[in-house]
Amino acid sequence: MCFNSFFFLFFFMLINFFFFVYFIMNGLSVFFEWEIISFNSMSIVMSILLDWMSLLFMMFVSLISSVVIFYSKSYMNSELNLNRLIILVLMFVFSMVLLIISPNLISILLGWDGLGLISYCLVIYYQNLKSYNAGMLTALSNRIGDVMILMVICWIMNYGSWNYIFYFDFMKNDYVMFIISFMIIIAAMTKSAQIPFSSWLPAAMAAPTPVSALVHSSTLVTAGVYLLIRFNYLLIDMFFFKVLLFLSILTMFMSGISANYEFDLKKIIALSTLSQLGLMMSILSLGFPDIAFFHLLTHAMFKALLFMCAGVIIHMMNDIQDIRYMGGLSLYIPLTSLCLNISNLSLCGIPFLSGFYSKDLILEMVSFNSFNLMVFILFYLSTGLTVFYTFRLIMYVMISDFNLMMIYNLYDEDYIMLNSMFVLLFMSLLSGSFLSWFIFFYPYMIYLPFNLKLMVIYVSILGSILGFMVSNMGIYSLNKLLLSYNLSSFLCLMWFMPNLSTYGLSYIYLNFSQILFKNIDMGWSEIYSGKGIFNILKNYSVFYNIYQMNNFKIYLFSFILWFMILFIFFFI
């Protein structure tokens, strides 16, 4: 089952690649339409839009999913029900492809709902309490986005079509369009885990690692960004894009800080995904959808690779995910540490790896165009934080002293896992430059002063020095400051936002409902309907029983009574 689906998806990827090159060469864009019902003036059509953007994204999705399925053949081989996982992953890829190729909101909704539902099934795959809670959190957060898209479907009926290709920004003064753009942005924010809805992404790391590599790094969380890229012509210059800019920059910053204090390997990578998603959303809301798409694709490559390397390490340590148990592994697992290093450096934006092309382009566009000072500062600060937690991760896992947790388990030569990682490594090295030639039809001119151009390098070097110093554990005075309880617990628990959005929203209602339940359901309504009527009926029947059972006494008594009445009547 594994190998069949791997070959199918790989073949699908090759088909997509050839069509992508053909379409981009000729500037083709194909729109299929099937009429389902056509009645008087109403017609329901099913449509598929194939242009270079959807073909390219489908190629990346199918490449990553084929590699992940191949990887999970070896990673999950102790799993008795592996077929279930493969079928779920295939259904997930199918709904993602449906989302990518559909131009109208109804089939986008089908793909969107499918993604949310299947990611819930994948998160709760392991049946422990943490997975159930994480699955609830994932499903409910994604549900809000589904509701928003349903409402957009209703509102956009006003304009006659559910396709996004018919709407441009000349409609922005309309109040209904205002509401529609607000809801679409909220829907994309829930899927891509921006600030009010960001608590589900670190929690969803309870899923198996190959699932995280596919779902939480490249496909599910980028569905929101993809939706906004497609709707970009409609939404540009709307007010809520500025709100989205604010929230996504905050997300980027907050998750960068939280990843510095986090000790669970998969949660660090999840928070780094969150940070890069904030970056994608913010550059999208600044008005550059093609750069956002570029970063989406390169990020998918190296993030999936990073998750897979983390999976190898977790497999080696017998399911331990805490980086405090790891140390000095680079000497013992050279190939895996090669992949880990390259994907980490690509994440930081080290020159000429794939992440550099997209990240550097984003930062240069931010410096070149005149935006807010706060935007500028937070972008560069978040880039520095990215390098900071990356180097901290490398220090803890790879470079520090060998922590002696697992000596005999250091098995790197699992060729199935390694081969799948090498495919992604190859793509992660080359996809940056490859895509930067293809995607940009009209090159961006950037003219910056020398120091501003090198600002990225300065920030990276600063971040790497800080990361090295903090994780070295040799400088205790600095660490005591950074690890002071209140500051560190505020910063590492994601500014308490998961608590706010779970307990904070529901606690008051649960409290109130407990009061209502105790006093009304189990109190007064028992007296007036349940137990009370029962008691009344019981007491009455006990009372009437006397009259039923004492028939003879009553008969004699009534005899005496009538006798007395007749006596009084006749003799007075």
């Binding site: 060469m25 500037g27 935006f371 500028f376 030639w437 039809f441 009209y442 090159p443 001119m445």
Partner: protein, 118 residues
């Protein structure tokens, strides 16, 4: 970022980035300044379906780049020369616009100085 600093410097004379020049184009120049002319032809731009915002004074280099892209696809790295020409032209256009902005700002400052002393 540099645009923010430069723009801030020009706020004191009430000059924003999208304003048009208000002074005589010939004022202060010894030689005769000509109007910039489009080298790319209108029908070429229309037939290549280049979006409106890229139909500026460097569009002829852009057309060469698009032609080279179509010919060399998928080995697009061979178009580096055309891309470099286009980006050079864009950069010189940008520098020209920077100089126009600075000229506008200095003329306004000079006008303020003259009207303050008068």
């Amino acid at each position: 970022m540099g645009q923010i600093m430069g723009g801030y410097h020009a706020r004191s004379v009430d000059l924003n980035s999208d304003d048009n020049p208000t002074f005589d184009p010939q004022a202060g120049f010894q030689y005769e300044r000509k109007q910039r002319e489009m080298i790319a032809k209108e029908e070429d731009l229309i037939s290549a379906r280049i979006p409106n915002k890229y139909r500026d004074y460097c569009a002829h280099y852009l057309l060469d780049y698009q032609v080279c892209r179509y010919k060399e696809m998928p080995l697009l790295y061979r178009c580096a020369h055309e891309k470099h020409n286009y980006l050079n032209c864009e950069q010189q256009d940008y520098v020209l616009r920077m100089k126009e902005f600075e000229r506008e700002r200095r003329l306004r400052v000079r006008e303020n100085r003259i009207s303050a002393t008068a």
